[in-house]
Amino acid sequence: MSTLLEVSGVSVSFDGFKAINNLSFEIGERELRAVIGPNGAGKTTFMDIITGKTKPDEGRVLWGDKSQSLLAMSESKIAQAGVGRKFQRPTVFEDQSVAENLMLALRKSRNPFSVLRFKASAEDETRVEELATEIGLSGALARKAGELSHGQKQWLEIGMLLAQDPKLLLVDEPAAGMTPTEREHTTDLLVEAAKTRAVVVVEHDMEFVRRLDCRVTVLHEGSVLAEGSIDHVTSDAQVIEVYLGR
């Protein structure tokens, strides 16, 4: 299995505070990975760096077969290259319908002039309907995203990510605020997604991570503390100290 993303020796600091400290991380092309860590461990900053929102002070972020550097690319270029991100808070476009949201995300040319001429083909519409079914919103295509429940918005966002068809999916706390049934559905979606692409899930909830049944990376104070299966990680003395010693 070849490496899709390689982060090595990355550091970043804000006004003297080191949010990420010499962090290295790798993920393969079809892999599900959970990243856990206490508050302030640098999970969000880590995702900011990969998606281009934050530029690190030092280190490398290499992407794909050609080992392209992501650091020189803008956020939109990185997204076009195949990195999709789901934010902690559901961020869908509430003023627009579910269909419009999905259509926005659909993998198509992002160039303003081709968008200006864009007319949805029957194929596109079928794809949107498929996605809607996948995320359980097929009956709500015409509804405004703002009217959806919290969980539905989370799914819609995951649906938008799938519509983007990224090679790497970064998911920030997908299960926050969901009912147990919704959680189960979410787990299924993620596991399913990881069959065709790499998925990184940042999560707090150990039970949720356990259910994902995948490799786990533990972040602490901006660097990797431990990595391995969930059982391996939870038995690690350092991890226990970090999580419970406080």
Binding site: T51, S76, K77, V98, E100, L104, L116, G146, Q164
Partner: protein, 420 residues
């Protein structure tokens, strides 16, 4: 806003079906145009005076620039305080040709009686003295190089605002200047431009501005009552086409993208859209629209000077759009027409004074106060503006988000406004 069917506004349908208000708008505009023509002095029964026809024609131009403002602010979330500057540039561009061509005719006529036929240089000097005498110059500044050509000046109406917007927008957007920062920056740009034009050596006659623009070169025999109707038609046509173009932009996927940018710019970026390019497109397109509106407005006004470009004018433009209801195209048109006509009525001395016994409110002096305060009231209590009244008729559903914003960005629609 849009009439959403099962798969939203993305299905291949005729524009009119996607955007039903388009037909209504164009119909009203056509009716209005015909009505004014029939009642005018030039082509009809003369119930509307020529000066009022001009006022109405100017109002149509203001509606067009308000449309541009709504696109850039209401749809894309960029509160530009520079669009009246683009409007003014359009006016200056056409004004230069009008002034040059007319002065040329006058100069040639006056030189024709001389003993020797005039040389090209003498004609040019004569025109320059006529035009720039007021600022103590007698030579053509380089900026007037193409003023003899109507085609090139018409091109300038589009190119100069367009290029200025392109360069300014590129600079501003690429450094991620957003929200109020961007507003202040556009305001600064407008101020710089108007200060520059106020100088006598700017080459555009300093604070005298350009005048006599109501006279079309070579058409001295045509009465103003006729010319005013011509310009009225042109303005109505421009507004109609501008509305059509705007609907085409906002109703499709492009509109979906720019509204998304307005509500959550970062999210759109993570979807892979080059946000800056979209903003730049809208900024430049609306600047051109504003330039065209200005080029139609000032020949009807007859005079343009740098005071018209001052930042305050652009802020008034925002006021019109806000009062009319931003985020809907017809709202901008209604706002511009309503406020500018009301303003003409109040400041023209036609409004009756209010005698309070101890103090008489003269509207000439107090209209601005009323406008300012009503603007505050609209912002506070009726963010949907006049356009919001139409929602009462159609009573659309609304997402209930308990008052939360619909997006984290400055300029994102609020729940109250998104009730369509």
């Amino acid at each position: 806003m849009t009439d959403v069917s099962a798969t939203g506004a993305i299905r291949r349908k005729p524009l009119v079906m996607q955007y039903p208000s388009l037909l209504i708008f164009l119909g009203c505009l056509a009716l209005f145009t015909v009505g004014v023509t029939v009642l005018s002095e030039g082509f009809g029964i003369g119930m509307i005076s020529t000066s009022f026809v001009k006022t109405l024609g100017k109002t149509l131009c203001l509606c067009l620039v308000a449309l541009a403002m709504d696109l850039v602010w209401g749809y894309c979330g960029i509160l530009s305080l520079g669009h009246m500057a683009f409007f003014g540039i359009g006016g200056y561009a056409i004004g230069m040709w009008l002034m040059y061509a007319r002065t040329e005719l006058i100069v040639i006529e006056s030189l024709a009686n001389q003993a020797l036929p005039p040389t090209a240089q003498e004609i040019s000097d004569g025109i320059a003295t006529q035009i720039f005498g007021v600022v103590g110059a007698s030579e053509f500044p380089p900026i007037w190089a193409v003023s003899h050509s109507l085609t090139l000046q018409l091109l300038a109406v589009i190119l100069v605002p367009g290029l200025l917007a392109l360069v300014f927008g590129w600079l501003a957007f690429r450094s991620r200047v957003t929200g109020v920062y961007l507003s202040i920056l556009t305001q600064a740009m407008t101020l710089a431009l108007s200060l520059y034009l106020f100088q006598n050596d700017s080459g555009l006659r300093g604070n005298n501005g350009l005048s006599g623009l109501q006279n079309l070169p070579g058409l001295d025999d045509v009465p103003q009552s006729t010319v005013s109707i011509w310009f009225f038609w042109a303005s109505a046509l421009a507004l109609g086409l501008g509305y059509l173009a705007s609907v085409a932009i906002v109703s499709g996927k492009f509109g979906s993208v720019i509204r998304a940018i307005r509500d959550d710019e970062a999210r759109v970026r993570f979807l892979g859209y080059p946000v800056e390019a979209y903003k730049l497109f809208i900024f430049t397109f609306t600047a051109i629209l504003a330039g065209i509106a200005g080029a139609l407005y000032y020949p009807q006004a007859g005079i343009i000077n740098p005071a018209e470009i001052a930042p305050i004018a652009s802020i008034y433009l925002a006021v019109w759009v806000a009062i009319g209801g931003r985020g809907r195209l017809y709202g901008a048109v209604i706002g511009a027409a309503f406020v500018s006509l009301l303003s003409t009525w109040f400041t023209g001395g036609q409004a009756p004074d209010v005698n309070l016994g101890f103090y008489t409110i003269e509207w000439v002096n107090w209209w601005t106060v009323l406008l300012g305060l009503s603007f505050v009231a609209v912002t506070l209590f009726a963010p949907k503006g006049i356009g919001g009244l139409f929602d009462l008729l159609t009573s659309k559903t609304t997402p209930d988000r308990h008052g939360a914003d619909l997006g984290p960005d400055a300029g994102a629609l609020r729940e109250k406004e998104a009730e369509t």
